[in-house]
């Protein structure tokens, strides 16, 4: 049916949290996601965790990609995850973290509920394929 044909599109929020002005990576990822046929919402720079939560909930995104290069991931990511839980949005949102994350912190983030951490040099296809394979079923 033309008007009723299901048109599922993966929606992603690419988010920059905290005092970190480096957004080239976020832009590159946003573009790669767009070219993969996803709908990408970019948060803009210097967002507070609450803003990211607000955006993720209202936009009903399948994927939340948080880009952090400032080293504040251990403070910011838990806040975002807490916020998502508050709105019942954590269970069916795929949370990814990209940026400079030391190995020992990576384990911690994964335990918190982050699905994957992508460091520098990750091929774009890998990230896109990961999203396509793991985007939550709704």
């Amino acid at each position: 049916m033309s008007a009723d044909q299901e048109q599922r599109t993966i929606r992603c929020l690419v988010a920059k949290v905290g005092l970190d002005g480096h957004d080239r990576g976020a832009h590159v990822i946003a573009r790669a996601f767009r070219d993969a046929g996803f709908e990408v919402i970019y948060s803009g720079l210097h967002r507070a965790p609450e803003e990211i939560v607000q955006a993720a909930v209202q936009e009903d995104v399948d994927v939340l990609g948080i880009s952090i290069l400032s080293g504040a991931h251990n403070t910011l990511v838990p806040k975002v995850i807490e916020g998502l839980k508050e709105y019942d949005a954590f269970d069916d949102t795929l949370v990814l973290v990209g940026g400079i994350i030391p190995d020992e912190d990576k384990e911690e983030l994964l335990e918190l509920g982050v699905a994957e951490v992508f460091g520098p040099g990750t091929p774009m296809e890998e990230t896109v394929e990961f999203v396509e394979a793991n985007a939550p079923e709704r």
Binding site: S2, E39, I41, E59, Y87
Partner: protein, 357 residues
């Protein structure tokens, strides 16, 4: 999705759960099974919100202005829903939805529900999805709903026409007066806003707009046109045609206005708000709101029926071996398009006729 889950989702939305509202809009966008039932159930709870459409060329400052408007409404204690439509790639279907970046004044305020939507390319599908999303926000209890789209093309005009009040944003220096003659720009606006009014050439743009609007309203003023009459405005059907006397006519007609704003600093936003209120009051006083709503529902019913009928025909085409095979027969001169159309539609017509009797 089963009926129980649908009921739960609708109940959660009506109870004010943000997640449920977001999910309903996703279902509407995705055309997911069961979305029709959900929207039907929401319908009885709608009809309370004031819907404002904002359109204008890319970079005119729509998102920034919408942000400021939303903040003002919030200050007055009203809740706001925003739907921002951005284009999607015709090749991959992907999109970057960037309007949210401008929503800086309403950070952390969950009573401003901001939703980005992409124009997913299906003809007519977008306006249906948008009007369904508006219904969801309305049922949720939002007082004001602002729909923001890039104003180019039929699709966008269709969306904007679903609004009670349409604001057209123009930026200074956006071409001479001939640009404004282009169809669809002047006709759809109830209010015109020259944004970035601190830029050079803003007053010129205001003057051009005012002149054009004046011509639009009364193109033959003081001219001997030799019998030329301006065609009726499609949205004002029956008002002028009834031969209402001049006085009545004056009350029934809304004179579009040109305002100036600097969205970034918030200059002029208050005046815009007052004018929006005035238009809203005018809609209520003249009963135009109801007329508009009626027209809107009529259009919606037509659109749905057209889509459903097209689907029915698509099924029938598939059953008969697909439209490709028919095209080949036409190409081989075995038959012609009219005959094929009659063949396909004939049985359906017969069916309808039988039912009628």
């Amino acid at each position: 999705m089963n009926a129980a889950a649908e009921t739960e989702l609708v109940e959660e939305l009506l109870a004010g759960k943000h997640r449920a509202l977001a999910r309903v809009i996703s279902k509407v966008e995705n055309r997911q099974p069961g979305y029709r039932d959900i929207v039907s159930r929401l319908h009885e709870h709608t009809g309370h919100a004031d819907v404002i459409g904002v359109t204008g060329s890319p970079g005119a400052g729509k998102s920034t202005l919408v942000d400021k408007l939303a903040a003002q409404y919030r200050e007055r204690g009203e809740t706001v829903g925003v739907i921002a439509v951005d284009p999607s790639s015709p090749y991959t279907g992907g999109a970057v939805l960037g309007d949210r970046i401008r929503m800086a004044s309403n950070v952390g305020d969950m009573d401003v529900f901001f939703r980005s939507m992409s124009a997913r390319g299906t003809l007519g599908g977008l306006s249906t999805a948008t009007s369904d999303a508006i219904k969801a926000l309305d049922a949720f209890g939002k007082d004001r709903i602002i729909v923001e789209t890039v104003g180019a093309g039929q699709n966008e005009v269709d969306i904007v026409r679903t609004a009670d009040t349409v604001v057209v944003l123009v930026q200074p220096g956006s071409g001479d007066d001939v640009q404004m003659l282009k169809a669809g720009i002047l006709e759809i606006g109830d209010l015109f806003v020259v944004n970035k009014a601190d830029m050079d050439g803003a007053s010129r743009t205001v003057a051009d707009l005012e002149e054009m609007l004046h011509m639009e309203r009364d193109p033959t003023a003081k001219l001997d046109t030799g019998g030329f009459e301006k065609p009726d405005h499609p949205d004002q059907d029956g008002i002028d045609a009834d031969g209402a006397d001049a006085e009545e006519d004056e009350a029934e007609h809304w004179e579009p206005m040109v305002l100036e704003t600097v969205a970034k600093s918030g200059e002029g936003v208050e005046e815009l708000l007052d004018t929006l209120d005035a238009h809203s009051a005018w809609l209520d006083e003249t009963g135009r709101r109801e007329t508009k709503a009626k027209q809107r529902y009529a259009a919606e019913i037509r659109q749905l029926l057209r889509a459903d009928a097209a689907d029915l025909i698509d099924d029938e085409l598939d059953r008969r071996g697909g439209v490709e095979a028919m095209a080949e027969r036409v190409l081989d001169r075995e038959t012609d398009p009219y005959t094929v159309a009659d063949e396909v539609l004939g049985p359906i017509e017969d069916c309808v006729r039988e039912q009628r009797e």
